[in-house]
Symmetry: C2
Subunit: 391 residues, 2 copies
């Protein structure tokens, strides 16, 4: 069920009108409302959401109420029409300056799939997986907005049976369909954020495609984790959906057994009913269900700061690949093609294991809204460009 | 041999006089020269080095020449005296806004030590280690300036023989003595930086102590690498030594066998003769030699961007723990105590495996200068504070 960008949604982004500078806007249908022009608040004249996000929940609520009121006005300037631009007339920028980028690994199904693909005779899960949300830092500087072309990365890979690596364009270029959480209110060094304080710090949600070169990753990742296999690009949606728009999407999280350590428990904890669609060249290939994620975003935030690490405005942390129990619900081509051994069939007789140059991958998503309605998340799309660096 | 902060050194930092705002200065002896006041350039009125570093090598050289000329003047305001503050009268800030932080693992001796400690029956080096500079992204938001107290992190660890983890303050808190490189001139997405262009992009060098909680790290790091075991704090020196001050420190790099892939080769490549001293509570416990590092900073930069990743002004990448061949040259307590099995003896009969609350670790370093002189790097020091988060 596709969602809508109605008055119960109101995601934030940064847009540039043809003649102007980048500024903050709210999406309504296929238009964007110029918030600085409509509300007269200087925080919306900024070229990123960061200053607004740093103001905290009271300001977030007030802005949402003012926009809602404006849209309901019956004056001559109906619904802020004077300050609305058609999406086709503006360009969309990265909505916030990314501080630190962390990528988790919180879908049990995804972790088990990866374990089965790479270690068919071992345990599907590592011993630590059920005790903590595994995660690592990614490259913040290469987080790009939806629509940015993605160059196929070159790098070292080792072919099966060979001892030495070769250099060249990745031959196993993949996606990771994820949901990202954006920190608004920072926390100081030495002050962990309790899981229950999740919504005092996190402003909203963006869709994330964490592009991954599986061959580069496989060769480099022992013992310090993924590096160049991931750092060439991470695409995020141009729109950040505020948590307030997702209040109807809260669902009970999965039962966790063994029970997590106390710092990972909270009565306020929640899952989110978000349905993702993965499209390859316009054809839907998968529908990963976010509601089944094992570790919640509140637990991830608590874990990320429990050692005293500070959080900053603009920190982005992503869920990790979202995968369900069957092929039609997997969030990566690694899983959909089961390690490249079982290609996907596409309309027109084509097949795919990993991505080819020219392929376009688009993630769309919607969350449960009020009544039967669904709230749309901003899409994230990217097209693969040929490698520039061949040797 | 300790180095000096003479006229052939001139490292940059950010200082705050008692009555003022943070601004850029150059260290001369035990004074700091206010560059905005002395040179009248607005770029030095900034609270970080980033704007100046982004200007590139021609500006860096010009500023250095102007400071050198000023210090040689015989006028009534000898050597810029009117614009110099005693170090005791100012506070020192983080010298640059850290964009992305990458930590490498480029000392062969360190990698082999770690291999022997944790895998006594296996190969000391992983199969990939001799083919690429292994590295990973760390947390940029918790890079702090020298002198910042370091809270002992709490987190999950698993005791030997136990299946489940416990939570509590780290019992294996360690250091990593490293040299960090600071990017000035950015590079765009999709345009790898050749190894030969190292000094067109890198502005200078900072000393780095990458504090590490070995027990947290050991439990969490499979399969995505270190996370909370490192992210609580990384201390850097208040002074960034420009590459120009290190021109006499260039030494031939070690022979690399097998020969690296072409993108990692360069006639311009270099090692750096930097000697580090690690002091615990005022007592020197180790002298790690940077000149023996296997992978050079030029190779690290080429590797970090070969997949098309952009570099940003303020990117910090550190060498990884610097270790020589004997215990007196190791850059971590993990190695100095050989996994905690062989405590160090300290003056007064004390011993140490890992750090105790109240311990102060100070790294100092000097590099070969002109003639027999040595150029001092800024020190990096930190004192361990008790954990705040006990349960």
């Amino acid at each position: 069920v596709p969602g809508t960008f109605g008055v119960d949604n109101l995601p934030y982004g940064v847009f540039t009108p043809g003649d102007g500078r980048p500024r903050v806007g709210v999406r309504i249908g296929d238009t964007v409302l110029d918030l600085h022009a409509a509300l007269g608040d200087e925080v919306f004249a900024e070229p990123t959401l960061n200053a607004f996000m740093a103001q905290g929940p009271a300001s977030w609520q007030q802005a949402r109420e003012r926009v809602t009121a404006l849209l309901g006005e019956k004056s001559s300037q109906v619904g802020g029409a004077a300050h609305r631009h058609n999406l086709g007339d503006v360009s969309l920028a990265l909505p916030f300056a990314v501080a630190d980028y962390v990528d988790f690994y919180s879908s049990r199904q995804h972790a088990e799939n990866v374990g089965r693909i790479f270690r068919p005779d071992g345990d599907a899960l590592m011993p630590n997986w059920l005790h903590l949300p595994i995660g690592y830092h990614g490259r913040a500087g290469t987080v790009v907005v939806s629509g940015t072309p993605v160059g196929r990365p070159s790098g070292q890979r080792r072919e099966p049976g060979s001892e030495s690596p070769v250099f060249g364009p990745s031959t196993r270029l993949d996606i990771e369909a994820e949901v990202g959480f954006v920190v608004g209110v920072p926390s100081p060094l030495g002050r962990p954020i309790p899981a229950a304080d999740f919504d005092k710090h996190v402003f909203g949600v963006a869709l994330v495609n964490d592009w991954s070169a599986r061959d580069i990753q496989a060769w480099e990742y022992v013992p310090l984790g993924p590096f160049l296999g991931k750092s060439f690009a991470t695409s995020i949606s141009a729109w950040v959906t505020p948590l307030a728009a997702l209040r109807h999407a809260r669902v009970p999280p999965p039962v966790q057994e063994p029970e997590p350590l106390p710092y990972l428990r909270s009565d306020e904890d929640f899952g989110l009913d978000i349905e993702i669609e993965v499209s390859l060249n316009g054809h839907v290939v998968s529908r990963p269900p976010f509601r089944d994620m094992y570790w919640s975003p509140a637990q991830q935030l608590a874990h990320m700061t429990v050692n005293g690490a500070s959080a900053r405005t603009g920190d982005l942390y992503a869920s990790g690949t979202v995968s369900g129990t069957v092929r039609g619900e997997f969030g990566s081509f690694l899983e959909m093609s089961w390690g490249g051994r079982d290609p996907l069939s596409l309309p027109g007789g084509e097949t795919r294991t990993f991505l080819r140059d020219g392929d376009t991958v688009t993630l769309t998503a919607s969350a449960r809204g009020s009544g039967g309605a669904r709230v749309a998340l901003g899409e994230v799309t990217g097209t693969i460009m040929p490698a520039v660096n061949q040797a």
